[in-house]
């Protein structure tokens, strides 16, 4: 292990894994839920300062910085550090630099079962784009009206990886996996009530998909789904360059 100098310490707060792009191909994102505004700001400043020290003022070298699950006050603090960052209010995502890189590798299609699943679906879609993939978002195609997904079957079959975001019965993951060649990333959401048990129902449903080919991430984990989809659709060289 020669990665000893691979951390950026924010004293008493964080030890940022700045070697992650070199090691894994994608930078570490900052998960903001559960962090105070002051902590988020301190982390952002440390990352900005490091970029400047590396003469990476536009953040293009080390890949984009993503701040996920940002509350409004955290967004406000981040804007003071990165005035030109992009903010997606629905996905609660802040990205710097604001433009995703030019896409390479395969194509990602994100299917969103219902309107209430949008925050998670947009987080997945944006993450895949900021990590370098072309990605498309299709909204409100749950199985209650099956024609909505069948109407898009050509688009879906053309994808190199399909992300299915669904709450309640989570049935869309099974249905889609049964129709396509590409791997499916299933993202159960906490949308629903009662016996949905905060996402347990679609989680179990996706884990038990009767069609093979579904890899499941945590409930509401749009970021993780976009990251995994970006890895699956990565251009061939990304593997060999590790």
């Amino acid at each position: 292990m020669t990665e000893s100098a691979a951390s950026l310490r924010v004293e008493g707060v964080a030890e940022l894994d700045v070697a992650r792009t070199a090691r894994r191909g994608y930078p570490e994102a900052v998960y903001c839920e559960g962090k105070s505004v002051a902590q988020v700001r301190a982390i952002a400043e440390a990352l900005r300062d490091r970029a400047r020290e590396h003469d990476d003022d536009d953040g293009l070298e080390n890949g984009p910085l993503l701040f996920t699950r940002c509350a409004p006050e955290q967004v406000h603090a981040l804007r003071t550090v990165f005035p030109d960052a992009a903010v997606d209010g629905v996905a609660r995502l802040v990205a710097w630099p604001s433009q995703p890189p030019s896409p390479c590798g395969g194509n990602v299609v994100v299917l969103c079962a219902g309107t209430s699943d949008l925050p998670v679906a947009r987080e997945a879609w944006l993450t895949a784009r900021y990590l370098g993939r072309s990605a498309e978002l299709v909204v409100d195609v749950g199985v209650a009206g099956l024609h909505r997904v069948l109407d898009r079957i050509d688009l879906i079959r053309a994808a190199d990886v399909v992300v299915v975001v669904a709450g309640m019965d989570g049935a869309l993951a099974s249905v889609v996996a049964g129709l396509v060649c590409a791997p499916v990333v299933g993202v159960p959401t906490s949308v629903g009530y009662g016996a949905a048990f905060d996402g347990l129902a679609p989680l179990l449903s996706m884990l038990n998909a009767c069609a093979p080919g579904v890899g499941v991430v945590n409930i509401d984990n749009g970021y993780g789904a976009g990251h995994l989809a970006a890895q699956i659709a990565a251009p061939p060289r990304s593997q060999s360059g590790a």
Copy 2:
């Protein structure tokens, strides 16, 4: 309550609810799991003797006797009491008299998602028939190969009630409910493993069906599903005659 004399007592063992046909329109079935062979035999003999006393030697008057979830030894004991009973080894069902009554009321279609769901699906299908409905059974039409259910859509849409029997992701119930007018009875099964948690996954999935119109019964409860379907598809007079 004038139903005081409505019970048939098997001393120390059971108090049979022989007024149920009069009160509800359908006779009480005998659930055999958890009963000893001797208990099942004693109950069967009491019911046979009562039928004889009522000059109902062919069992036609009070509706058929159904013994559910019968182990082989219990089947053996029942055959000594009702030599001409019908036995379905897959559904573990014993019925007397052996012939279902002539069907009346609406039509029941039972959809079975996979081969392993057959015991439950057959129990539902036979129960609906013995309780007086015409019923059809369609096997192995899970959503992993969606064309299998879409190919039968005319048959399914012609039903007055659809019973969907599925384990694993239980997604078939949602998909079917989204395609038909008729009410759907969902029967989750314990088919599957791991995170299916003995039927919990399809149970939650069906309770959270994104298409309204699904009434769910207990895991593996083919008998209950057939009974409920028979009630839903009952001829109009059956309600008024209560």
Copy 3:
């Protein structure tokens, strides 16, 4: 599948299943929980505009629009779009047109176990009425005072379908199912505390009802129960016309 043009797209927000009445006999309702006020308003406007385009200014042709689980701000927004809509504050339901259609088919009786179950019970009762059935609501007849339900036995036995709304032990569903011919739709509620586990207790209780004939919907799902009851009590032609 010839239903390709069956969706009404609200760009980036929703893909409304406007073919549902044609396909299933009942229109899609809009579940408002988890949607922003702006999203609800955009959906409502799209539906209103479509009704106008179809010269269906009074909404009579395509069936009533139901907006369920509306928060006060959502109700406010809906009233700006449909000034003459009906609003039930307890059930959190907004309906347009405000008058239910003339009832046809069978009769629905909704039994509400306790006062705290009223929001769910009223949602079921109103849904059944807006979907075209005659329906009656009976309040506070839990089994702790059994005479309350026994006193109504004639009314209950005259129903074509009984909806039982109960939290805590959910025992009313079993008791009622044991007394009537008609199918029972069980709606567990999150009323209770502690080991009620937000409705898990009555959910399990109803799924294990010792009397057959209970179809269970999701916890607090008054809309789904009213919808299922309307389907069960639909006039015979509705099935054949699918």
Copy 4:
């Protein structure tokens, strides 16, 4: 604490709480599940020898010895130690001396919802009798046929404590508690399948009984229910004599 010499040690196996009758009014029972035949035998011999040493050859002084949940081999071993013990095969209970003491205190009524609940119900009924109460057992009076319990209402209302043994929906406990003055001891059983989750459903149902006055014991815990009922119905002096 002067009870230091209150234990009977079976070296490396058990430390019997022989002071329990003096301290609590009832002797310690030996729970045999999970013990080897050799361990059960060693415990039985130690208890027999101690009785002899105390010139209590007929076991009348210290209260009866109860061995619960005995497997057949354990019964066999116990019979070699106490040849005149009573054995109830259904309840899996071995008692010595074989005759319950003359009853004193109030009256216990044990209600058993279904035939499959009999082992637990008999264990409760026998325990109450061996601990000194008069007790009656009523079998198969579940709420699916409500008249069965209403027909016995006078008997039930005459009890000083009612034990309700029920699996599946456990609804009988609520119904009975709503009809009587006496406290109810609820015993959920593991009878049922699927969403009964080995007794979880009736356990939660009884804990959430909408009628107050139900104290719940562990699933299948007939012994504990009989013991608690015996305490509740104890004659007034038993408390003062502690």
Copy 5:
């Protein structure tokens, strides 16, 4: 059943079980959680009016009215209906008439494991007193400092029934049950965090008490515990008078 006229209807809101004192010996309490202020007030007014009609202006005849789990606004509304009611802010209990009846029957001792359990413990203690028993409350005697409960052993052993209120590990119920003759009513509370899972830990602990003689009620159910304790310690005639 001659109890047909036994209900007091508050139209569309409640059907009060006013026959409960005659039938069970204790009046129905009004559980206020989940009820609106208007509903609570309407119920209170109906009960007050009925008392007046029965010339029971001081509420002495039918037993005290208890309103449980009252939020401050509900307390305010109740005071406008019953200006002289007693209010316990910690227990969130409102009682009318304000004075408990003269105690009869046995003695109740309520043990409260920790300070945070006080709301539940006081609800149990006050309920037992308003239902006619003498009752004592002992605070903060959890097993972490075992001497605290051993120091009170004489008081506890003198009780006819002991109520143990405890969260976290719930161990106090087992320890106490092992030391006394009287039955123990166990009340698990939601006090604790993490793996206490809102009271699940002490609930399971009490259900599995290694000492027999514990009847468990719902988590945080102080009212139910006080009611059950009152029944257990009722004077002998209360049973015979049912």
Copy 6:
């Protein structure tokens, strides 16, 4: 949908999705758990006969047939139908034809945390190979001895997809995902006891992996993991050729 003739019916038993290779790129496997020997044999014969009818006597055209989770009697039956099939007793897998196809696409590495996880790991490894990928299996490299996995880091980093099979704490998935560029397929196993809760512990652990890039399949689902890995590592044309 033009796939109407895409099923092979085994009357009353199964409806085989023989169009799956054309639609998804991989043939349907036969999951044998829960099927009778007769059912497995009937399915195998139908598939063999179809292969012959299509002049595909060596099974090379439509991809290999996989029979998973085979009990010894089922293996025996399958050998009578496919005498030259390959059988892996540890993985409980039967494959025909016996030789995997020549590998194409990327490389799969399967990491097995402990010896007891071998059945699942071998099922994943063999499935990936029979579906056309080169695959390597590394055994017993759990994190308790971290050097075991660090010693193989070059091999692991050279993979295009890594399958991690682990029970107990499931920590290996997080650790590996943090070290590599490639996507990780996590397979929790039921290895462990007590609070492993039959695989729940590693399932939750993998779903909450602190390193992004883990897609999780069902507990013990080696087949699904191998299938998903084969899809992820598929050669670029397989996506475009769908």
Copy 7:
């Protein structure tokens, strides 16, 4: 038991276990969650007065007083009683006297997996210090960047006990336990979302650590972890002096 006078009663509120230092070596802490401000203040005043009565004005004799999980209003109240107390806002801990005692015994190292785990980690770290141990806190060393923990391996191996605080997958506990001789105290936290289920995931993960040597405390229980660590690293005489 001669500890009868070992309690300090705050009437109707608490019975403080002031003998705990004598009995166990460490004083009782006051857990403030669930206590009202008035209760916390009353307890603090009683403890302060007792210290004065014992001429222990600087609190040095009986060990430090710790108030845990303090809300801001509670902190405010405590400051009026102990103006010179130390307050840690992140850990929500108030300590008096403000200075930890001089450390004795072994060394404690607290590892904190992520920034969001800091409140719990600081509570553990401060508790160990106030209970007399030297302790070090290392922040943000989760396994997603394994080098962060491997870089500190010498520091960690020098500890006499290691406390690992981690949410999400909880994998750090297994990894660390596999690398060191010293016992590990695992503290799962509620950091995470979805299938972390409020700390259940890391709790199960730590309980199933594949490396032996991990003792687990409750979710988020920093106080308990610091206490246990202090006991494990206590100087030899503390045991013999009990």
Copy 8:
């Protein structure tokens, strides 16, 4: 990491962590549940051969080999490899060499709540002894007869670490922790039934012990408890020598 050559590979079966004694101070044990007899034998032979190669024929150098959870056939196989191994049938433990090393460090006391907990308690007790500690086992001292544990208080207080093995309510851990200075290792067992949920009840109870100072291991994990206790009671040099 210089431990690269630290593994002993049994090809395709296991990769034994033979560096563990050097790294952690204690050798790796072989957990036999879930391993085939052939696998266990192969592992044993590899370990024996390695000992011989290192001229460690009596196994004294590298610490004892422990094989845990051995089924009888596995014991038989192990005896052919290590004819002079010690076998404890109750604990299902095989140890070689048969004699534990001379004890050093502190003293371990293992408390076993009931007879049925003996297999787990003996496993903990023997493990601590084979890992080099003096250890004592006290049997059947559950809290139902509190005097049994209070009678041993001097022995328990003299321990450097106390292991509490208990099923059902697990209350013994709290009670003991409240009485002693030393840390307590809590081992919940699966002893019990019904709502013990295979050890969940005592697990939660111990995690929520109201007395601090309890570190909990997995359900039935006697080996892990003995290992952790040995670490806690290790002589001071063992830490410094790591």
